[in-house]
Point group: C2
Chain length 242, copies 2
């Protein structure tokens, strides 16, 4: 009965239901109106995401999501030659993979609201600190991700969205508008703090509202309790449930 | 593909995806393994919940939830004659309504894990403070809920669960085992703080584990990224996706 909003992405999507997470905040904001479906795959890049595409979004679904966020790139942008090379995908292929994902979703449902989200910026120093804390002396001494390279992927993502006529959120740019973004928004140089999650939540809600998927304008699935007459509850439920 | 875990209840369920909420924590714990579906209806009692039953759980569903939490009673236990009288349901009817809900779910799926959760205890003083802060001089001077009365509903809920052979969580008793439960677990004498939410989360996970619905024992829907060979990703996806 309720529409689905699907969140497709990597670890920043997968962990979005932790305390203060942007996915949980969306589920709360759309509570009684839409279901938020979590499809986050930690460590995945767009190349691997393609293997899941037809399984998560089979053609002919009777109820495809009304909206999907596509939030990859943080792993694609791992440096070739770095310690996370296994996850690296060249930027041109990243764009091509995103194009395939969008094209498939459009085929599933031409009216689906599709929102491409760029990776967040990288705090290289924070990333190094995290590596030292986690791996001690064995820690990498060269960065596995740089902010500059991730910025190239963010630019590619936004360009592609414009080309395909779908909406996008340039998280890489947006976060860097705020002084001290490195520690304010990122907890290990890459993943989001509660404040970083709040930025994603606000940006997603803003785009959803622009596209008329505004929780405050959507109907409740069933009557609000204040509309139910204690002595004659049937009346409130008549239209939807009797 | 993933099983569904459905949370059916009143406001304490509806707001369970706020920061630190027990529903969001469940979604996070079962991420990549099961979907947590939010069906919380603020202000609802079991009498009104019955109107939704066949809509939320139609017979013949191809994929009924593998587990459902039923978490009502906080509104049923509003005092007859108090300011929330509209929501009051006598305890015998409350038990009868819960019985109808359980019976219907069993009909939907004989293997569904059903967990009845009692209402939390009431901090009467906290409830008064909240009323004064919210309504000022117009605030009620008599309690609309008492801890003793809510305890009668909690007892009825647990007895019914035993009679029907389904699992239950006596939240009313559990919370009162901790000194200072009034402010520690309840933010307005009735609804849960983050610490109160953590108690519900822990208790639900405990019951789920006892019933073999243990996230750590459940398979990932798709390969963990560490299992994917960067040079030959097809291999990891072969079993599930090719």
């Amino acid at each position: 009965m309720r529409p689905n909003i699907l969140l497709f992405g990597d670890s920043i999507t997968q962990e979005s239901f932790r305390s203060g997470g942007w996915g949980a905040s969306l589920a709360d904001a759309y509570s009684r109106k839409a279901d938020v479906v979590l499809r986050g795959y930690g460590g995945y890049n767009t190349r691997w995401a393609l293997f899941l595409l037809h399984h998560l979004f089979p053609l002919g679904l009777t109820k495809p999501p009304v909206a999907t966020t596509i939030f990859f790139g943080a792993n694609d942008a791992a440096l070739a030659g770095g310690t996370s090379e296994r996850q690296h995908v060249p930027v041109e292929e990243y764009k091509e993979n995103l194009r395939k994902i969008v094209r498939h979703l459009k085929e599933c449902s031409p009216t689906m609201l599709i929102v491409l989200i760029t990776p967040p910026p990288i705090d290289e120093e924070g990333r190094m600190e995290y590596a030292r804390e986690t791996y001690g002396e064995k820690a990498m001494t060269l960065p596995e991700r740089t902010n500059e390279t991730t910025g190239v992927y963010a630019k590619g993502c936004v360009e592609l969205a414009r080309e395909l006529g779908v909406r996008s959120i340039n998280l890489w740019s947006k976060m860097q508008e705020t002084d001290g973004w490195q520690k304010k928004y990122l907890r290990d140089g890459l993943h989001l703090t509660a404040e970083g999650n709040a930025v994603v939540f606000e940006e997603v809600v803003k785009v959803f509202k622009e596209a008329w998927l505004d929780a405050s304008e959507m109907p409740y699935d069933f009557p609000h309790h204040s509309e139910i007459d204690g002595k004659n509850p049937e009346k409130a439920f008549q239209q939807k449930c009797l």
